[in-house]
Every structure is written in structure tokens, then in C-alpha cells.
Symmetry: C2
Subunit: 154 residues, 2 copies
DNA sequence: GTTACTGCAAACTTTTTGCACGACA
DNA sequence: TGTCGTGCAAAAAGTTTGCAGTAAC
């Protein structure tokens, strides 16, 4: 699945500018990794980015791709699809509910909300397949992490 | 973080009944893993479940915990928090959007929807921390997987 | 010319698998 | 008693890190 060329170029420009203005070097490898992520809307993993970029830059290594996506994610230029990093986490709560996820420490808390429960799948989604569950994920920074951060600033 | 005892017991009963009625054996290990997940609302990973269960069943092995959560997830008795299994996936689309995720093949497609964009964080979430993003995750089975499934049934 | 970045290799973490023994139904 | 599940060990998959050479600024 590919992103329209114009939109992909726009995204690459955003990524390049951001790297430069952060004082980071705009290397051949970083540019090609950025180009790959920007032009692929299947939400690829590192392995897939690596395979595609290698067709254009045969000497690139897998760990450079890992480091590059880490840099881009750090700058907020690309998102990670999963709620949290690390190991898979499990949930025995089968009642309808939603999640608050702290992007710093990985805390997940269940949210019960009548208004969130009433969210319905739009046409666009039903066109892709059968929607079996609708879950709202609220991401942010929990109070504990916020407190630790302001402590550190002093 | 612990689940109220009564609710935890209810969940254990549901899990035990489901195992039995699926013709699976209700072993000591499975019961204790079920008990642990049911009583813990922090959405633990396998390592954490293992550590806690081992206090009660010192001989249990880590791979039994892996196999048990896989069985419970297969039966739909516990949920996996992450959108998809396997490697971390990246997204260069910084515009506000939502996701349709196929639980069979891991397909992720972006969903643009004005009505989903208007979903707001409830009080309950703001009480836990600063909410920075609200994303709706629609899970289900994509058309392709549905088709493959009905082919197989014939 | 510096310094940050890359590629290589090795380590580490998370998860899966094959096999023989033991326990549930 | 037969079969499914467990524990052990080893391997596979995914990710991170130290180091020496290379390229960006």
C-alpha cells in the first residue's frame, strides 16, 4: 500500500527539516529510511523497512534502521502503533472498557465511560471488514511521571 | 493494583468453566495463571504473571505461563493489549486518524472520520494524567481473511 | 578537522518449539 | 489407562549495545 507521491514527499520534507533543526545529521541512510516510512501506509515493522530500503541502499544494516526509527520516534516524527513498548500484556477484563496509557512508564488503567461506549464504527471501517470491537485509547502522561519530571527540572 | 475479590472470583469461575467446556484440562497451573490474571488489573506481561504465580506454585515454568495465556487468548477469555502480535510497527501519518486492525492477519488501515475525531477524553481519564491523544481502535476481521475463512469451511 | 553516525558482531530480551515424563479425566 | 499438559533445554525472533572506521557538517 503506498501513500500518494505528493503526500509522501511532503512527509519526507517534514522529517528532513526536523532532523536538521534538531542538530542531527541528515545522512543518506536516515533520508532513505524516512522516505520508506513516509511512502508506506501499511504501518511497517523494522524488518520490512529494512528489506525495502536495502533495495536502494544495499549496504545499510538492520541496526541502523532500528536506530533511525528510534530517533524519528523520539522526535515525535513517527508514531509507534502499539500501546506500549516491550512485552505483550494481557487483560482479563472482558467488560466493555477503554484504556488510559502512559507513554512514559507504560501504566495502563481501565476507563469506564458511557460516552466512550457509545462511539460507533464509521462506514469507512465497515467497508474494510467486520468490526468486532471499538476501543478508545487515551495516551498521555500519568500524574506520577509528570511529578517526577517536574522534580527533575528543579 | 488489584481487582475486588468478588469480581476476581467471578472471572476465575468464567475462565474455569470455559476451559472445561472446551474439553481442555483444568490443571493446577492453568487455574493459578487464570487466578493471577483475573486478580491483577495492571495488564501484566507474562514475566510478571510468572513471578507472582511462582510464589504459590514454585515449580511452574515460564513456558507453561506462555502456553496458558495463549490458550486463554485463543478462547477469547483474556485480551492482548497491543493492537497486533510480533514486532513494533511504525506510522508516519501525523495527522489525526484512527485504526482498523485485523486480528487475524495484522493488517492495519488508517481511518479518517470526523465523528471519531470528535471523541473527547472523559473526566475519569483526565484524573489519571494529561491526555495527549485520543485514538479509536476498531478491531475485527478484514474482508480478505473473512473470505479465506469461508473458503476453508467448504 | 571534529564529531556524530554507520556497520559489524555479539549480547540481551521475549517468545516458540521438541521431547520425555507426569498428571488429569 | 490414554492422552493432554508440563518442565526442561535449546532455538528462534526481535531489539540493543560496544567498538572501530567513515562520512556529514
Amino acid at each position: 500500500m503506498t501513500v500518494p507521491a505528493l503526500e509522501a514527499e511532503r512527509r519526507v520534507a517534514v522529517l528532513s527539516d526536523a532532523l536538521r533543526s534538531s542538530g542531527l545529521r541528515l545522512t543518506h541512510q536516515r533520508l532513505e529510511v524516512a522516505r520508506e516510512i513516509a511512502g508506506d501506509d501499511t504501518h511497517p515493522d523494522v524488518e520490512s523497512i529494512y528489506r525495502h530500503v536495502r533495495e536502494r541502499v544495499p549496504t545499510i544494516s538492520l541496526d541502523t534502521v532500528y536506530r533511525t526509527v528510534a530517533v524519528l520516534a523520539e522526535l515525535g516524527l513517527v508514531g509507534r502503533v502499539n500501546a506500549t513498548a516491550g512485552a505483550t500484556r494481557y487483560d482479563a477484563n472482558l467488560a466493555r472498557h477503554h484504556h488510559f496509557v502512559c507513554t512514559r512508564c507504560g501504566l495502563i488503567r481501565d476507563i469506564y465511560s458511557v460516552s466512550l461506549d457509545s462511539v460507533e464504527a464509521p462506514e469507512e471501517a465497515s467497508a474494510l471488514g467486520t468490526v468486532e470491537s471499538v476501543r478508545v485509547q487515551l495516551s498521555g502522561v500519568c500524574k506520577e511521571c509528570r511529578r517526577k519530571e517536574s522534580d527533575r527540572e528543579r
